[in-house]
């Protein structure tokens, strides 16, 4: 009888030992899962922000339509150092425009977000009104097709909500979205 009780007690110990073993394995698995997810979205997201790599961007227009914000937090940014200050600007005028005037019918931007300012003959400066820009990339396409590619898309961090899972990044066909340190938030 006593022998049976000892056996029972041993079985209980064995039961607990096995339980602890399984528990440890579960804990390790859970820890691994936590670390993996935190590396991707967690701790680092406090120091990193979403940005769009202009080298990878294919100017598909999704930044305008898939951002959770309306209008999108992605805006056209002008890299002035690369601009030719052209009179016939491919980013400003519709292809085939006959008159180089600021008439709405001549402008490529659907929201007239690009301002054209006369500097001196024959130079014009082009600036972006970010409140009007919807990030559709039409001007970026025009500038890269006919100009120096001085117009690029960038996530503007004064607007971006820095979602854990950026909706544009998810749908970007070129996988041009990436996390960058908030201390250097631009990729231009």
């Amino acid at each position: 009888m006593k022998k049976n009780d000892d056996k029972k007690a041993m079985d209980r110990r064995e039961f607990i030992r096995t339980g602890v073993r399984y528990g440890c394995v579960s804990l390790l698995a859970a820890g691994g899962l936590y670390l993996t997810s935190s590396r991707k979205y967690g701790k680092d997201s406090q120091h990193k922000v979403w940005q769009l790599d202009p080298e990878k961007c294919i100017k598909c227009g999704k930044c305008a339509t898939t951002c959770v914000l309306t209008p999108s937090a992605v805006k056209c940014v002008h890299v002035y150092a690369a601009c030719g200050y052209c009179n016939l600007c491919g980013g400003y005028f519709q292809p085939g425009t006959k008159k180089l005037t600021t008439g709405g019918e001549n402008q490529l931007c659907p929201t007239a977000a690009i301002k054209r300012t006369y500097i001196e003959d024959p130079y014009y400066e082009y600036s972006i009104d970010e409140n009007l820009c919807i990030g559709c990339a039409k001007c970026v396409n025009g500038c890269s097709d006919f100009g120096n590619s001085s117009l690029v898309l960038q996530v503007r961090h004064d607007r971006c909500l820095n979602c854990n899972e950026c909706n544009i990044a998810k749908s970007c066909p070129a996988q041009a979205f990436t996390r960058v340190p908030s201390s250097r938030p631009e990729l231009i």
Binding site: G90, P122, D145
Partner: protein, 343 residues
Amino acid sequence: MSNRKIKERSIQFCLLGLPIIAIIATLVYVKFIADKSTKAGNKSSQSQVNPFSYDISDLKKVNSELVKYVERGGGVKVPLRRPTAMTIASDNTIYVAGKDRVLQLDLRGQQLQEFAVLGIPISVDIAKNGDMAVCFEEGLMLLDKNNQKIFDVRKFPKNTLFTSVAIEGDSIYVTDAGRRVLIQLNRSGEIVNEIGKRDSDAGIQGFIVPSADFDVIPGNDETVWVVNPGIHQLENYTYDGKLRSSWSAEHVGIQGFSGCCNPTRILLLENGDFVTAEKHIVRVKIYSPTGEFKCVVAAPHKFEDGTVIIDIASDRAGNIYILDSKSEDIRVFEPKMDRDEKK
């Protein structure tokens, strides 16, 4: 093992093993199935029509009747990696340049001679007497036909960025995109004049050079033709820097130049016609001496996406040679008329 032990093991498995299996299954789902469905979602969203599409395919279409040249199969193989410049001398030999060397080839691509140069040549021109001028981004070199160095100057003013060179008479002309001037040097390598600076009294607007596409070619009677790329204009300067004439063709259609910095390369044919090469909408065309569009040599569909026309040249027969950045070979376009006549 007793039945009781088996029972206890089963209970242990149910209590602890099943949750672990559940966790693993969740991980597998997250990693593979969810990813797959996201990708599928992406694919379906990719197929959606872009409401902000930008389409210039119509501008790339060319009426086939305007194309008066046909490509000769094979072309000329260039025995150089990443060729950077090309010209055809008056003796009908091709000079093609790459890093640290310039090769002289016959029209079938057979190598005749090799010239050693230090650096990456940007442009090459051969004088009627056989002298060869080679320009680098910040330097200029002149060699005689016996491969003897006449001068090699590497020190020029700050912001110098040479893009093209031409020899005409006793002068060497180099376009400087950094300082937006045409520099004239003598045979000793000394700067004797800076041409094309803005001068309202002389009617010179100044060169508008938004990018490093700024070409110069020898004209006739000791003049040079220079592209003013920002305003799509070709300007003819005399040896003493006076603007003699100019013509422009600013138009987005086939008859003109559009975008920034076109034409990127020009060439003067024996009959006075100009051959022009463009970027963005990559094409090669011919204009009359006064700037009227005449015909197309190579339409945009003849070039792969992303092609840059590095240089253009012509032989005595009037064939047009195009150095293509994608194939890194010289493509030859013959006048269609000639081919018909041959038949």
